[in-house]
């Protein structure tokens, strides 16, 4: 098709602002999906995604639309992941588009995520079409939010479309705006092939399937293709489009989006952001913007029952097939036995993986404190990447420690600005700027990522009654005076409870943690001291008192079987405990570290 009749676009929206519903409605209105086939959120294929209302895997769907000018257009809807953890994927998806629908809930207004992705789109020179969704809601205030939305992108409030994706009202106008306001692609069909990989999935029968936007040249089934960054070579076994099911069409030319079945066996061989070219006639330069998605958050995952270790390994292998950003390596803990140290793009990514392991693979897991990757310069002149507190060298071997920082952008109702600033200060934030947006304040802080990965988001929500929204982006390493906080149970250090903390907050963290552990660890047959220590020096102590009474009240002839079964059941319950030395520690104790200092939570 002539490039002037092609539009590649994304939908940008905050979680729950109705992106998936609008996408469904577009499919329906263009006849790509019949009424009968219509399901809620056709584009989100995994149950977990649907349950959480989050899109994890971007896909490209082609629909044909006959516009009011009587001409037929090819619209490629490139779906974007909806969470800050996946912002690199978002940037690649946007790079595949010339325009984007900026969708905002007419009752909620702009959120931090909207801002972040809108800025990404503006930076990428995309034509933004502002859309207010959910105007059918009683709480909707379209006039107010239209003005704010127009301000944000420097547009006229009258250009803001007002729709209800749920009822279908105004969706036709959205399609017209895509055709009339967004520019067509401008690739050179005669140049050597350059196709941007903006997503990939692993199919157990067909191998890696890449979703691409052809920028220059043409791609045909059977051609030899090279991925320029990873230097993988493969044959384009099938070239097609999603409409929305996979439909082979044999070729994609400049300006078009679609998929390629590569036959590659691992997602590691084909990374998002890479440029595909023809092995026989390669392009001189790849498309700009490629980087390897780097895990930001790490934690140990251990099976509660050590017999499940091989099952955990199998499950991680399977999940990795479809998730190139999940990294893992074996880890051994004195307390928890054999497990894996896993790296994730962010907290949500971590939660999703952990939940899938437990739900889809039926594993019982202990998760250790999440932490970030530190860069440690040793006195010997080495630079170490430290992903686990256990690997932190002793203080006298540390020259300095670099910790990853992020720039946090929060949108906060005026009344809660003080509370949010207080929270950011407690978490070692450095104030950057503040400016009003609509009736709220955009508050920007630079913060250590380590402070975000624990309970920052929960705290932010609880201190603003759920009204604040958060986005962040990495801004590199900064030197910090960090120390390793150890936890001792009955005098023995428990490696799985160690964490790396700022020197100044070590006492409060240690104190909060031992208090929490005291509440979580059940009484044992003997007194269990719970201590926090830095470099061998005890900084806080609590005691789990010894059990005073544990008897089965009475036991006569009629009770014997029942009592014995009670003991059997209690034994079964103890299997879910980890034996750390002589101390029986429940799973929850390893999560106690996540809930942090009670002192600062009020």
């Amino acid at each position: 098709m002539d490039q002037t009749h092609i539009r590649n676009f994304s939908i940008i929206a905050h979680i729950d602002h109705g992106k998936s519903t609008l996408a469904d409605r577009i499919l329906q209105l263009t006849g790509a999906v019949s009424e009968r086939e219509m399901r809620e959120q056709v584009l989100d294929s995994m149950d977990l995604e649907r349950e959480r209302g989050i899109t994890i895997k971007a896909q490209a769907v082609r629909v044909m639309y006959t516009a009011d000018d009587g001409q037929e257009y090819q619209l490629n809807l490139i779906d974007t992941p909806g969470h800050v953890d996946f912002s690199y994927e978002v940037s690649r998806s946007l790079a595949a588009c010339e325009g984007a629908l900026l969708v905002v809930d007419a009752s909620q207004g702009i959120e931090a995520q909207t801002l972040a992705n809108a800025y990404l789109a503006i930076e990428g020179d995309l034509e933004l079409v502002p859309v207010l969704n959910k105007i059918d809601l009683p709480a909707a205030d379209p006039d107010l939010h239209a003005r704010a939305l127009a301000d944000l992108i420097g547009d006229d409030p009258d250009h803001v479309l007002r729709i209800s994706a749920k009822t279908g009202q105004g969706v036709k106008d959205v399609l017209e705006a895509i055709v009339t306001r967004m520019p067509p692609p401008e690739g050179d069909r005669d140049a050597p092939l350059r196709a941007l990989v903006f997503d990939s999935v692993y199919d157990q029968y067909r191998g890696v399937v890449a979703f691409v936007r052809v920028v220059d040249g043409e791609l045909r089934t059977g051609q030899q293709v090279r991925a320029m960054a990873t230097a993988s070579n493969f044959t384009a076994e099938e070239v097609g489009v999603m409409s929305p099911a996979m439909t082979p069409i044999g070729h994609l030319s400049a300006g078009e989006s679609g998929y390629i079945v590569t036959g590659l066996k691992s997602l590691v061989d084909l990374r998002v952001g890479d440029t595909l070219t023809l092995a026989g006639a390669p392009a001189a330069e790849p498309l700009p913007g490629y980087r390897e998605a780097k895990p930001m958050v790490f934690c140990g995952l251990f099976p509660v029952d050590s017999d499940e270790y091989p099952d955990l390994r199998d499950a991680l292998e399977k999940l990795s097939l479809n998730d190139a950003s999940l990294v893992w390596e074996p880890e051994t803990s004195q307390a928890l036995g054999f497990g894996f140290r896993c790296g994730f793009l962010g907290l949500l990514h971590m939660d999703i993986i952990r939940e899938r392991l437990e739900r889809e693979y039926d594993l019982d897991l202990i998760t250790t404190t999440p932490n970030v990757e530190y860069e440690v310069a040793t006195t010997g002149g080495d630079v170490l990447e430290v992903r686990s507190p256990v690997d932190l060298p002793s203080p006298n071997h540390i020259e300095h420690i670099g910790e990853p920082y992020v720039r946090c952008t929060m949108l906060v109702p005026q009344d809660f600005v003080g509370a949010v600033m207080g929270l950011c200060q407690e978490r070692r934030g450095t104030f950057v700027t503040m400016m009003p947006i609509e009736n709220r304040q955009q508050v920007v802080y630079d913060m250590p990522l380590a402070e975000i990965v624990l309970d920052f988001y929960d705290q932010l929500k609880s201190r603003t009654r759920g009204y604040a929204s958060l986005d962040y982006e990495p801004i590199g390493l900064r030197q910090s005076p960090l120390v390793k906080l150890d936890i001792l149970l009955a005098g023995e250090p428990v490696d799985a409870l160690s964490m790396i903390v700022h020197r100044d907050s070590a006492y409060a963290r240690g104190k909060g943690l031992v208090e929490r552990l005291k509440e979580t660890i059940p009484r044992q047959m003997f007194e269990v001291p719970v201590q926090a220590a830095i470099g061998g020096k005890i900084i806080a102590r609590e005691t789990v008192k010894a059990k005073r009474k544990d008897v089965l009240a009475k036991c006569y002839g009629g009770d014997i079987s029942r009592k014995r079964k009670l003991l059997e059941k209690q034994k079964e319950g103890k299997k879910r405990m980890k034996h750390v030395g002589n101390v029986e520690v429940p799973q929850e104790a390893f999560l106690a570290v996540l809930q942090l200092d009670g002192s600062s939570s009020q």
């Binding site: 009240a553 009475k554 036991c555 014997i560 059997e568």
Partner: protein, 371 residues
């Protein structure tokens, strides 16, 4: 070793399920009302006795429990005891459970005449506000009157049941119970911690059990208080003046065979545990037709029997004979427990220390693998 007694089973339990009302904490097999069924029930129990009597040797102990056995009325109890009497060994212990409000002088006299040697009186508490929590029907003074009637009838031994860790119970409440025991002077006291059993009304109600520390305080107060009065803490929940231990209960804790008759009753005979099904009508109907009552049968393997012996015998203050009970699953645990002062080791014996007894549940789980 299966616990079988070559001379035949020497311990008999008879379950008499009738109650005037169900107490809030009760999860036993009881029948509220149904006084019309008592004759048929007596007939059924006697029929079951006839069916099972071949396993019995001379009976050293008999225990009529419930329910409220005294609600059977003097005549039926006399008929039942008359059928049992020829089976008794010389000097046999014959216990009947009774609720204080049901014991009259007439009833006590009838029991004495029928050969009853011991009455266990379910007082539970002397404090009206706690009796109310427990849904008990007795009024202040009932227990004293019952005790007087039992003694006047010449029944040699009196035991009282009390409860601790009742919601709302304070140390002062427990001290009042102790003073009452001191004044009454029973031969034997059973002092149970109230259990919030699944299915009981109290577990569904608004009351919650006291915390571990308060329950432990009350338990220790009961133990030291009774010891000061001369009672020996011979089993976790039982206290006796010298020589007044309940011999029937001792048979359970020594893992001996016993025959249980009546609806819901449990027997353990030669490595088999069987339980008559609950359900009064089905029980009576089966026996009326000359059949065995509906039952479940469980064969207890050697490991289970061994673990049960440890579970039961460590409840007693006497040393456990390892040769009798069988090997511990985790012998090393015994040393660790000894090092912590929870058990004392003797020549082939193990005995729980006072602190060990308070933690008997945890201690026995360290020694044996219940699985």
């Amino acid at each position: 070793m299966n616990g079988g007694d070559p001379a035949g089973v020497a311990h008999l339990y008879v379950h008499l399920p009738f109650c005037a009302s169900r107490c809030g904490y009760c999860a036993f097999v009881v029948e509220v009302g149904r006084e019309d069924a008592r004759d048929d029930y007596l007939g059924a129990v006697l029929a079951e006795l006839g069916r099972e009597r071949a396993v019995l040797g001379p009976l050293r102990t008999v225990y009529l429990g419930g329910g409220t056995p005294t609600l059977m009325g003097a005549e039926r109890l006399q008929a039942l005891l008359a059928a049992i009497r020829p089976l008794l060994a010389p000097g046999a212990e014959v216990t009947v459970e009774a609720n204080p409000e049901t014991v009259t002088r007439g009833l006590a006299g009838a029991l004495a005449a029928a050969g009853v040697t011991r009455v266990s009186l379910g007082a539970q508490s002397t404090r009206p506000h706690l009796l109310q929590v427990l849904d008990r029907r007795a009024m202040p003074g009932d227990a004293e009157r019952a005790a007087a009637a039992i003694r006047a009838a010449g029944i040699p031994q009196l035991s009282v049941d009390l409860m601790l860790a009742v919601p709302g119970q304070s140390g002062d409440d427990l001290a009042a119970d102790l003073a009452w025991v001191a004044a009454l002077g029973p031969d034997h006291v059973s002092w149970y911690e109230l259990e919030f059993k699944e299915g009981s009304a109290i577990a569904r109600g608004p009351h919650r059990p006291p915390g571990e520390d308060l329950a432990a305080d009350l338990y220790e107060q009961a133990i030291t208080g009774l010891e000061a009065l001369g009672y020996r803490w011979y089993e976790l929940a039982n206290f006796a003046l010298p020589g007044a231990e309940c011999r029937h209960s001792m048979a359970y804790w020594h893992a001996r065979d016993y025959l249980g008759l009546g609806v819901g009753a449990v027997s353990t005979i030669r490595g088999e545990r069987r339980r008559n099904a609950p359900g009064l009508e089905r029980y009576m109907a089966a026996l009326a037709q000359g059949a065995a009552p509906p039952r479940t049968h469980d064969a207890l393997d050697a490991d289970t029997l061994r673990r049960e012996r440890w579970m039961l015998a460590t409840r007693l203050d006497e040393p456990l004979d390892i040769a009798w009970a069988g090997r511990p699953d985790r012998p090393a645990a015994l040393d660790a427990l000894a090092a912590r002062g929870l058990v004392e080791r003797g020549e082939g014996t193990v005995r729980l220390t006072r602190r060990g007894r308070l933690l008997q549940n945890a201690v026995v789980q360290q020694i044996m693998d219940f699985a």
